[in-house]
Amino acid sequence: MTISRRNLIKSSALGSLALAMPNIVRAQQTTLKVVWMGWPDNQVLPLMAEFEKRNPTIKLALERMPFQQIFQALEIRLNARNGDPDIFIVDSPLTASYASRGHLMELDSLIDKKRFAPSAIAAASFDGKIYSAPFGSSMQVLYYNKDMFKAAGVAPPSADPASRWTWEQLVEAGKKMAKPAENIWGFTFEQQERPYQLLPMGQSLGGTALSPDGFKASSYIDGPAFVEGFTFMQKMYTESKISPPGQFDTALTPELFGAGKCAMMVAGTFVFDTLKTKFPNLDFGVAPHPAFAKGKPVTPTGAWHFGVNARTQQKAAASQFVTDMLSDDMNVLWYKLRPYVPTLNAVWEKEAASFTSDLWKIAKYDVQNTAVPRPATPGFREYEDIVRVALRDIQSGANAQQILTAAAQKIDREIAKYKG
């Protein structure tokens, strides 16, 4: 057998390719640094494992951060202005804040807007472009303890959004069940100081939380609607005393409700499973989020998105992460792991059977009819911090008008730096 030159070249090329193969595979193996919310292992790891299974050349270096520190820690990492982390979780109203400072990669080419709820696309957009990937929204409902209602002889709220309770009704019922001296309460917000849950108190009375351009809080957050709404809230702590003061830890209030020490709680759909598994003896029902008698129903919404660091060195792998995580079946898996209100239309169809409960009927109705997202502004981080402090002050008895006016002025000063 004669060895032609061509064959020699061919075989040596093949040989060197074979020798180089492991290195090529290794070179293709990329690692994405992912900063995620500190949700429990069993709700996060299966999702990430599924992604790695589908993409053997991409490894995820996953880091879950506690809710109380995640925004500060991300702020420091992002301000170092390099590609660490490649992917990070984004609270939807912070999209504008990150995007305006160049921390987020534009995702328009990766996201088909038609597949998502319009409100989710709106929350993901800044300056007409998509900067964060919608990965679930949220909806609040009123949880109530059936045993406590029965013992007090109070008729429980209806699950029908058409006959939703008013805040006035809620306070009256709460008074019959609260015994502050014995640490028994009528009502609590799950997140007692977060604008997320409390802005609807003013919005229900016709208030707007921030100017439409996102730069002015004065005469919005301190307008008559918010003063009236938050004064009403204040009285739940100081006059009727149906609500436990100072419980600002979002992990503590579900505990209070679960232990049978609070008759009603406004909390997210995502708390439902926790209550079921952690407090198997608790007999509770769900009803729609309350509204003011003279106002209109308004419910909080918006939740977790994720984004790609604009400075990532792994653009291809990061884009793959976005595409895969937003696929129908990954979203179904995520919904099953942690039941947020889906933003992807396909999940509503594919999981239709699981949306027939009271909880999901209410959530679906409110998401489509009454949900109002938090204000869109590049200064949301500052806005939230200032309003949180104001809400704490109001709950402990300070004059709502004065506190809100001072807060609004402070917000205006802080947001001004993002103008221009």
Partner: protein, 276 residues
């Protein structure tokens, strides 16, 4: 008032202060031994059940140890002890230099050192992170240890002690032919046992309690320190209180060991410094 009565009153006062200070820690440890749905059940009304867990379980500890807490305890121990060893060496040398030598800009440098420990950490965290990033130390043990080695307060502590040693002693040693390293190492360090104990404790507790910096500076699970591991048990609306209390109890108990061991010296230096 008879001496007997005043002594009794004094003891009553001391015991009640001790009870007030220790109750939260006692409650923490007891809660770590209760099943999940019992933890807060008796917290509202103070009763015998609040103090004594009638339902008893070790599940919380096994849960805590199954997660990353064991590794995190070892990480914290390693980081704290290494910082103590490096910190005592570096800061005592600096304190020695300030106390014994005269050099240019000494006062200015000393003021800068004093300022360094009055500076809030939040104000330097972004530049510090960028620095660590530039030298490639993020997500390594070095990022956890090195920034904490030199400490203005610890330098000040050593400086105060070394300044108290009469200069004549140093001069005599120089006459006898000792070099400065020998004076530092063979003469002054053996004298400063209580100062070393105090400095070690301060560095150890500081590093043991470190939370925000380790959270920012390291991202791998294998580098998580104990306070970060504890916080991981807290999620937004679903805190695992049992595992949280169990890991917090473990952290408190381990941190108490060096304290009890060095306590004698710690008290001594507080007293001698008060005498001065």
């Amino acid at each position: 008032m008879s001496p007997r009565l005043s002594e009794t009153l004094r003891y009553i006062l001391l015991v009640s202060i001790a009870v007030i200070l220790l109750t939260p820690i006692y409650w923490l440890i007891m809660s770590s031994l209760r099943p999940a749905d019992h933890i807060f059940r008796f917290s509202g009304n103070f009763s015998i059940e609040t103090l004594i867990p009638f339902a008893f379980t070790l599940d919380n500890y096994s849960q805590a140890l199954q997660s990353n807490v064991g590794r995190a305890l070892l990480n914290s121990l390693f980081v704290s002890l290494t910082t103590v060893i490096c910190g005592v060496f570096v800061n005592s040398l600096a304190g020695f230099a300030f106390a014994v030598f005269d050099f240019r800009f000494k006062k200015l440098l000393f003021v800068l050192i004093l300022l360094s420990f009055m500076m809030p950490f939040e104000s330097i965290v972004i530049p510090l992170y960028t620095l660590m990033r530039t030298i490639g130390w993020t997500d390594t043990y070095a990022a956890l240890i090195m920034p904490e080695v030199a400490g203005g307060l610890i330098i000040f502590l050593f400086y105060q002690f070394f300044r108290g040693i009469p200069r004549e002693i140093y001069e005599a040693a120089r006459m006898d032919g000792a070099n400065w390293w020998q004076i530092y190492y063979k003469m002054t360090m053996p004298l400063s046992g209580p100062t070393i104990a105090t400095a070690s404790l301060m560095i150890f507790i500081h590093q043991w309690d470190a939370f925000f910096w380790p959270l920012v500076a390291t991202s791998s699970e294998r580098l998580a320190v104990i306070q970060v591991a504890i916080a991981r048990n807290m999620t937004m609306e679903q805190a695992n209180w049992g595992a949280f209390f169990a890991s917090a109890s473990l952290a408190v108990l381990v941190a108490m060991v060096p304290f009890f061991w060095l306590q004698r010296h710690y008290v001594k230096i507080v007293i001698t410094n008060a005498d001065r």
